[in-house]
């Protein structure tokens, strides 16, 4: 790791001062800073929830360039996967409501051959914070999610157009009617905040113009309809552009605006690199330029995942996992399927109800996830999962040639922590394993579950 985060942070501003050119150049391994299991684990945690043992080994062999390509390219079997899972999600919504949606979405995250897509869907869902409770119809929520998934890696304009073109946005905001006689300033403020226009900094007239652009749009019988007689056709001036803006034009103007683009890039930086250190505008400018030149969000993410800064100490183990990332990551590490119905409910307890982000700002981020109580509950959920009949760490170890009492601890530790667990902690765990495996009767499969539970309850597990 070449960058020491503390050296690069401007204490007075709390902002990162890093050479942007160096930061976004692709990481090239050197003998002093090699491509090793730690970097592989880091990449998989951020881009794919986590990696299984064969995935980590393959990535180690292939190097960063090929691995990032693999993780950011939709695999050929993705269409078939969607074909199989989309109807399951729709049926779950119809039959079991939100519980079914949570269960099948989690299942999808665990099984997806293209986990980055699921991560970006979750990312955008957390951003626009659509609440299924407010939609009332679970099938409408699923329809929104599926459309969001389809566009989540395309352009910022596409994402915005998808969200604005779906009734879920207005229903969730409690603003289903936009009449000519009463443009909604309240809605205009919410919308401006969601697209990065800092409503407090916008002149009141600009907010009024945005509200007028929305006039004529109604949600009727859960469908978004444009009623021409309710639209205010007078010209509007928004972000320096003038015209009879409706929603498509509004989306085009906003998504092309530098403030909005920097807003998106900043969010991606927080999601993939660091929530701890706010980046300077200078550092972000190369990525903002990419977006301005028509690069897709997938393209920007690819640049991030290849970059020097992504593999620096600044990014490494510096994000607190969300509860979803934590449990899905555990299942993906072991490459095994877990009972997601119960897990969906557990996540509600942990504050991440997949169907209902708590506010318009979405879920908390970073350290806000962790307090004494939530940390204890998270450990409890991970423990339950680790010792459940669904996970079989002994079988995984056996499959990869580590199925012996001597090899198992090191194997699981490498799989989960890639050597990041402090040696004192590892020593304590090894002692526990030794006494466990010496007891009689001893079943290695049961013992391995107990050891896995000990491993995933360490605080370090919560760092992505």
């Amino acid at each position: 790791m070449t960058l020491s985060a503390n050296d690069q942070v401007d204490a007075s501003l709390g902002q990162l001062r890093v050479d942007p050119v160096w930061a976004w150049e692709p990481f090239v391994p050197t003998p002093n800073d090699p491509w090793d299991l730690r970097k592989v684990g880091h990449l998989f945690r951020r881009a794919a929830f986590a990696g299984s043992w064969p995935q980590l080994q393959q990535a180690l062999e292939e190097g960063p360039e090929k691995t990032v390509s693999r993780l950011t390219t939709p695999p050929p079997k993705l269409a078939q996967f969607h074909q199989q899972f989309d109807p399951l999600l729709r049926e779950a919504a119809r039959g079991q409501g939100q519980g079914g949606i949570r269960a099948w979405w989690l299942r999808r995250m665990v099984e997806s051959p293209f986990p980055l897509e699921e991560k970006l869907t979750l990312f955008w869902h957390g951003h626009f914070a659509i609440s299924a409770d407010r939609l009332r119809d679970p099938t409408l929520f699923v329809d929104y999610l599926l459309q969001l998934r389809e566009s989540c890696l395309s352009s910022w304009q596409n994402v915005l157009a998808t969200v604005c073109g779906h009734p879920a946005l207005l229903l969730s905001a409690g603003s289903p009617q936009h009449r000519k006689a009463q443009p909604s300033l309240k809605w205009a403020r919410i919308f401006a905040a969601q697209v990065g226009l800092a409503p407090d900094g916008l002149p009141a007239t600009e907010l009024q113009e945005i509200a007028r652009a929305w006039t004529g749009w109604f949600v009727v019988n859960n469908r978004l309809r444009f009623i021409a007689s309710e639209h205010d056709p007078r010209p509007k001036k928004i972000l320096g552009r003038q015209g009879d803006f409706g929603i498509p034009e509004l989306v085009a103007v906003i998504s092309a605006h530098p403030a909005s683009q920097e807003f998106v890039v900043r969010k991606l930086f927080r999601y993939f690199i660091s929530e701890e250190h706010p980046p300077s505008g200078e550092l972000l400018s190369p990525l903002v330029d990419c977006l301005a030149q028509g690069e897709s969000l997938l393209g920007v993410v690819r640049v991030i995942l290849r970059s020097n800064i992504f593999y620096s100490t600044l990014a490494y183990r510096s994000r607190v996992k969300s509860p979803v990332e934590s449990v899905v990551g555990l299942a993906r590490m072991l490459g095994q399927i877990v009972p997601t119905a119960r897990l969906g409910e557990d996540l509600v307890d942990l504050g991440q109800d997949l169907c209902n982000p708590p506010t318009f700002d979405g879920w908390p981020e970073g350290r806000a996830w962790i307090n004494h109580l939530s940390f204890l509950r998270r450990k409890q959920v991970l423990r339950q999962l680790a010792v459940s009949s669904a996970l079989d760490p002994w079988a995984v170890a056996q499959k990869h040639g580590y199925g012996s009492i001597n090899k198992l601890p090191d194997f699981l530790s490498q799989l989960i922590y890639q050597g990041d667990l402090p040696s004192t902690t590892m020593g304590t765990l090894q002692q526990k394993w030794n006494s466990l495996s010496a007891s009689r009767p001893f079943q290695p499969a049961d013992g391995a579950k107990v050891f896995l539970a000990e491993l995933v309850q360490q605080p370090e597990f919560e760092l992505a």
Binding site: L88, G95, W104, R136, I337
Partner: protein, 591 residues
């Protein structure tokens, strides 16, 4: 891979077949009853006095024919898993020098006794008919266990030890132990329990279960020719941790209290409970008795006790029936005892009572509404046949109906009708506030019965919209003579009207019974088939299974319903003592 699967099945068979140990002591000697080797602290004991009846029944062509008639079982018999089992059985036949049916007769054709003791200790005693065959089988399985232990790098997990002349064996590092004494096999999950059995054998059964008075009384109360007999020492069960969990659950659950309060009360003053299982012409019957007595008079739980002449009514029979329940419960009397029966719930019932007050125009629920009903209550659950013009929901829920017997229909029907329409109006109002589709109320007539029906509109809906779960409902309130029918669908309401108009009032009563439940195999299987996909999907996310595994489990569920789906449970009062009769008609023996 195949070898691993075979090994796994082989190991399972070891557990199932209950292995004998190699040390055969006293072969040819007459052994005392197995209950003389079981400690007196046994809480639950299961005995099959003569397993040959069960074995011959299961091995008979007739039984095989009945089993093979079932589609799910046929599928299993044709599956690769079954083929693997057959392969293992052939191997055992070769090693033992006998055919499997003969081996089963000799090994399991004697007496089998199983006892559960405190702290989850289990002792199983199998009296076989051939010590020689047991010894041979043990040798084969011992070789296999040693091989497996060697391969796993844990050869010490197969071990033996001697205590009072008995040799105890373990194949799994002490988790389970077993010993052979003559032609008798003893198997336990605790070595100490095996030692206790040896101690009892030495002292001639003093302090054993056979000497316990409650056990002797229970044996006397059961028919002597029972295929299987069970004994429960209620005194010991009451001492077990969490033994009062049903009672505690009842304190917060009025429905549970309505169902079980009477029997719990009778069991609370019982010292033992016993059960006998008999098989007759493909029907398996379970008869349960206890020495407790039902309290009568004004006791809070006396709301469910019929007199010698009274009792609940026969269950209603309708097409596509899945489950039917008939109860004898005085609801007014039950509800008046709410502070005693479910005290932890009564504060939560204030809202319910207020709502009932609204619906029944200010009448007091337990004093002015419920007293209008006789204690005979019937519940029917039936599969639906959907009308394409209404909607075919993605998840098919069965229809459900409650049938009450009214004391004075002329007075009560208008009250009930008004309450029903108010309730539907409130539902519509609530749904309307959320812009959800409401119910359209209508009056209809069928066979001279005028009833109220409410349905969802389908105007302007796409076929996809009509898959909504709401199209499982078309609620009806129908007064039919002295009965009041509350049904979730119009179809079921009409079927019930057909039944009630033909019901023989004199033959309908079942004296002494206060609970009768019946399930219908064909209906249940049909409902399961209709919802097969939904069940598989639910299994996948609830148990974390792959689709293949979820399908296999669903098939097992189907097979279980295919075998046990035709069930009848009766709870009754005989000479103030509680009794239960349960009967399962095996496939091919219905009616």
């Amino acid at each position: 891979m195949m070898a691993r699967v075979k090994r796994s099945i082989f190991t399972s068979l070891i557990t199932i077949l209950i292995l004998p140990a190699a040390n055969v002591c006293g072969a040819g000697e007459e052994l005392p009853s197995a209950t003389e080797w079981i400690p007196a602290e046994a809480a639950i004991v299961l005995e099959i006095p003569d397993s040959s009846k069960v074995v011959e029944g299961l091995l008979s062509k007739e039984f095989e024919g009945r089993i093979r008639e079932n589609e799910q079982i046929r599928q299993f018999l044709e599956s690769p898993q079954f083929a693997q089992i057959v392969g293992i059985v052939r191997y055992l036949e070769f090693r033992l020098g006998t055919d499997w049916k003969d081996a089963v007769r000799k090994l399991f054709g004697g007496r089998i006794t199983a006892a559960l003791l405190p702290r989850n200790q289990v002792l199983i005693v199998v009296d076989t008919k051939s010590a020689e065959l047991l010894s041979k089988l043990h040798q084969v399985l011992l070789e296999h266990a040693r091989d497996e232990a060697q391969k796993a790098g844990d050869p010490d997990r197969v071990a033996s030890g001697v205590y009072k002349g008995w040799t105890g064996w373990t194949f799994d590092g002490g988790k389970n132990v077993h010993a052979l004494v003559g032609s008798r096999l003893l198997l336990s999950n605790k070595a100490d329990l095996l030692r206790s059995a040896a101690d009892l054998a030495e002292t001639g059964g003093a302090g054993s279960l056979a000497r316990v008075a409650a056990y002797q009384q229970a044996q006397a109360a059961l028919p002597q020719n029972a295929w299987v007999r069970a004994f429960v020492n209620i005194g010991l069960i009451k001492e077990a941790p969490r033994s009062d969990r049903i009672e505690r659950a009842m304190r917060t659950n009025p429905l549970l209290a309505l169902m079980v309060a009477d029997n719990l009360e009778a069991l609370s003053n019982a010292t033992w409970m016993a059960a006998a299982i008999n098989v007759d012409g493909g029907r398996v019957g379970l008869h349960v008795v206890a020495d407790g007595t039902f309290p009568g008079g004004d006791h809070p739980t006396a709301f469910s006790l019929p007199t010698n002449e009274s009792g609940c009514l026969r269950n209603i029979e309708v097409p596509r029936r899945l489950v039917a329940v008939s109860l004898y419960r005085d609801l007014a009397r039950f509800y008046r005892q709410k502070d005693v029966l479910f005290p932890e719930r009564t504060s939560g019932l204030i809202f319910f009572e207020n709502m009932m007050g609204v619906f029944f125009t200010g009448r007091h629920f337990s004093e002015e509404v419920l007293p209008h009903l006789h204690p005979e209550i019937r519940l029917v659950v039936a599969a639906q046949e959907y009308q394409p013009d209404y909607g075919v929901p993605a998840v098919a829920l069965p229809a459900m109906a409650l049938v009450f017997r009214m004391k004075d229909p002329k007075q009560f029907v208008p009250m009930a009708e008004e309450a029903w329409q108010k309730a539907l109006g409130l539902i519509n109002f609530t749904r309307g506030q959320q812009a959800l589709p409401g119910l359209i109320l209508d009056r209809a007539e069928y066979r001279g019965v005028r009833y109220t029906v409410a349905a969802f509109s389908t105007v302007g809906l796409t076929p996809e919209d009509r898959k909504d779960v709401r199209f499982n409902f078309r609620p009806v309130l129908a007064p039919v003579g002295e009965y009041l029918v509350l049904s979730s669908t119009e179809q079921l309401a009409r079927d019930i009207i057909d039944y009630l108009q033909q019901e023989d009032q004199n033959a309908a009563r079942l004296p002494g019974r206060h609970f009768v439940l019946e399930t219908d195999r064909e209906g249940l299987l049909k409902l399961l088939k209709t919802n097969r996909e939904a069940i598989i999907r639910q299994n996948m996310v609830e148990r974390g299974h792959s689709r293949e595994k979820a399908e296999a489990e669903t098939n097992n569920l189907f097979a279980l319903v295919a075998i046990l789906g035709e069930l009848r449970v009766e709870l009754l009062r005989q000479e103030d003592k509680p009794q239960a009769r349960i009967e399962v008609a095996l496939p091919g023996t219905e009616n």
